[in-house]
Amino acid sequence: MFEFSPAMLVYAAVCSTLAGGFASLFADRWPAVQKFLVFPLLGLSGVVSIAACLAALSGAPAVTDELALGLPWLQWHVRLDSLSGFFLGVIGLITLAVSAFGPGYVREYSNSHYSLALLGVMTALFVAGMQLVVVADDAFAFMVAWELMSVASYFLVAFEHEEAANRRAAFLYLLMAQVGAILILLSFGVLAAHGGDFTFAAMRHAGLTPLWAAASFGLGLLGFGMKAGIVPLHVWLPEAHPVAPSHISALMSGVMLKVAVYGFIRLVFDLLGDPHWSWGVVVLAVGSVTSLYGVLYALVQHDLKRLLAYHSVENIGIIYIGLGLALIFFSANLPAFGVLGLIAALYHTLNHALFKSLLFLGAGALLQHGHERDLEHMGGLIRRMPWTALFFLIGCLSISALPPFNGFVSEWLTFQTALQATTLESGVLRAVIPISAAVLALSGALAATCFVKVYGVAFLGQARSRKVRHAREASHGMVLAQAVLACLCLLFGVLPTTTVEFLSRISVDLTGFGVTAATRQGWLWLTPIAPEVASYSAPLVLLGVLLALGAWAAVYFSSRKRRLVQPLPRRDAWDCGFGPLTPRMQYSASAFAMPIRHIFRPAWRLHEEKVREMDPQLSTRPLQLRYLMHADDLSWQYFYLPVERFVQGAARRVGRIQTGHLRHYLAYSFFTLIALLWLIT
């Protein structure tokens, strides 16, 4: 009678989230509810989501179900296949981490007059919306869940609504989310019109003509791209992410962007059928531009959360590069390499969710305990917040794609896919792919530069402001959340073969092809194409490193026992003989990025302000020097402002018919009536 199915896990996860939301209605009256009920329920939901993910990825067939919700003739269809399961797992992992981080973080709001109840309810609706999006199996349920996610996150972005800038950012976000939703709806509309039904099952057999398929693809690319943050549709990201509470930023950047990627993969690889090669080129170009643009803008930011938001743009670009490669190889009938591109993209999706959430949670800890978001006022935090510093370092290493962490593996897979370009017939494609690989290499190297800047300026050196000098370590829950994510970053970096094996099931479900070669040599070796073409053994590399470390430690401790008891002598740093070094003499974030600004000058519009106050007695001696720098997003100038001018102009022209005289309006009605009568006769 009662049979267990993985769909139950999905319902349990969503119900647990919603229960958390309900419980938080009482959080304003009894703040303890927040800590003992709301966040544990969210965490439970995360755990159950991960269980559903494992169930779906363990090779079980897709589960479909119908819920008695929705329209009378269109019930909500739910489907848990390996792709949904994977994204559900990503949502679950990050929700779990956030549920550990949240109680410590929201304590900050308990003394303010912002409503904790609102925060809790909207967080729950937001998470539930994302969970429903990935399991929705018809366009109607998808759109409802999508809107739930968008609108709930609008309230979260606008949570600290007393600052006008936050309201403006939230409005921009809502506007773009709605435009994106309309485009997605139109894209589904094309499919539904040809498939005859709103269910995804019908859409899969829509049999679109190439033109309609291209229309649906284009609308989907723009619609989902608006949420994912492809250039130039990314402008809401650097505005909205910094102003949301940090654990929400982690959810938005780590998970919500991934839900948009999910929608794109579902549309292109599942619903639309066989891809055209030009789609692949478009996606590849979009990905390359996005990744380079994102990292270049990240380099000139000094607001930590804004910088991280631009890095999300970069990483979405890397994911799209993988997807573009996959589309090109699939359309060229080389599925073995197409699958590799898809897996690289999915792997990077998982990795980005982990390390970006880790970094945002770290930024949250800095914000709460150092009261700073601006890098220029930080410094020396490694001594005040050692654990946060350690885990943030792991996040920096992962996002900079350095071995043996997870970011490296997915970039390695993307590069391996790109290197197979020689097998393509078309000369244009063979030339395009290496160029995008070059862009990927450049943005990877620039990302490392950027994170040396972030870590070096925020955590190393001396404190640049009083509050930072007296910062305390974050609470246990907050540290624990970061620790879990950091460990996962290392784990997925060291066990790539096992991960690829799981991801391969998704591509088998979606496209009918998997990577058998990648995992054939056992869990130690990752051989994406064939062992002689390329192989990487992260466990063995790590083993070698550990052996070397062990050998060194043995020599160190056996030969010089006295070092254990004697701390190293400390002296002043070299100051060229001019007296003590002050924190202001350190390289600042702007100074660090100055050579890069010099090299890539045309990429930004920089507003620099130099303030120099001179000594009235001695006109050559400056009393105070200040340098302020702000980079304007070029897409405003070249895309949004022209669009805005056009819309304003069109509205003004249309507005001319609104004269305000009753007789004009009567005449409009009269002529409209005549025209209609003429039409129907």
Partner: protein
């Protein structure tokens, strides 16, 4: 991977790595000696770098007040990554099991990991010099690393493999032919090598007093064994780029078996190739003046363009 389970191969690779690490200071000293001879100065004795290292290892370590743990771990990571990188490069033996563990992309990643910590160490103490060095190092690396990757990709596409052993084996089996892609790749790798190892005209390894210094600015606060490790790592890096250049583009002589005769030939061939390359480097450093700092990006942009042209010329002219 059955053939990677033979013990002799692993031991030989390990021995080769030890040898690589051992002779790295010698190569740096060879360049220095050649330069001294060219500039009419008296060259240092052959074993001078080893004496310097021994002296530094024996000295006490002094830390700045503001130095954190990152500062103390960085030398070990920088040196460790250099040794790891050295272990995966075909040096005397072409077929080494380490090359399968970590391919050419991992090599670039490993060097990047070392550089990441080197730059963090520069920022750690909080002096202007350190920050200056880190900022410049990371900027130039951001341009040099993609160029290096492009060279690697050209070779990988040519040999259909990113495994360095396989690449070397492929070139040994190829008939001698002038390929434009390889020529561009070689030029690009030479430029990248000069930039990454901090040689003239990008950086001057012999100075401590100029505002234009890069590598020396980052390690200014190091003393004792930490400084020894940093110096050793930078000598190792020079040797890595030199061996990479000669063994990837001129692999003749490298041994593909463990047979003593062919190993002997390989040692001789490698010594000769490195000696010529070192002498050429010394000659170039004598003839060329150090560049203004903001000319360096142009220098690296040339390297990047060359590597990209190399790859495209392979795809356009030689593919299929």
């Amino acid at each position: 991977m059955a053939d990677y389970l033979n013990l002799a191969g692993w031991l030989a690779a390990l021995a080769q790595t030890v040898l690589f690490v051992a002779i790295a200071p010698l190569f740096a000293n060879w360049v220095k000696r050649a330069k001294c001879t060219l500039q009419n100065r008296r060259p240092p004795p052959w074993l001078q770098p080893y004496r310097d290292l021994r002296r530094l290892f024996g000295k006490e370590v002094v830390l700045a007040h503001t130095a954190s743990h990152v500062f103390r771990i960085a030398p070990y990571i920088v040196f460790g990554t250099a040794v790891l990188a050295a272990s995966i490069i075909p040096f005397i033996l072409a077929e080494i099991p380490f090359a399968a563990m970590a391919d050419a992309i991992v090599l670039v990643g490993t060097l990047a990991l070392g550089r990441f910590f080197l730059a963090l160490a520069g920022l750690d103490v909080g002096t202007s010099f350190g920050g200056m060095g880190s900022s410049r190092e990371m900027t130039f690396a951001a341009l040099a690393e993609p160029a290096m990757l492009m060279v690697v990709f050209t070779l990988a596409m040519l040999a259909s493999s990113t495994n360095l052993s396989t690449v070397v084996g492929f070139f040994l089996e190829q008939p001698l032919a002038l390929r434009p892609s390889l020529l561009f790749g070689l030029l690009a790798l030479l430029l990248v090598g000069i930039a990454e190892t901090g040689r003239i005209p990008v950086d001057n390894p012999a100075t401590h007093l100029e505002l234009t210094m890069i590598h020396e600015a980052m390690i200014l606060e190091y003393t004792g064994r930490h400084l020894a490790l940093m110096e050793y790592a930078s000598q190792l890096k020079l040797a890595i780029y030199a061996v990479l250049t000669v063994n990837l583009f001129l692999p003749w002589g490298i041994s593909r078996t463990l047979d003593p005769a062919s190993v002997g030939i390989a040692v001789l061939a490698l010594t000769a190739k490195l000696a010529v390359l070192g002498a050429l480097l010394a000659l170039a450093e004598t003839l060329v003046a150090k560049m203004r700092l903001f000319r360096v990006p142009t220098f690296l942009a040339v390297a990047f363009t060359l590597s990209l042209i190399g790859m495209l010329s392979f795809i356009m002219l030689e593919g299929h």
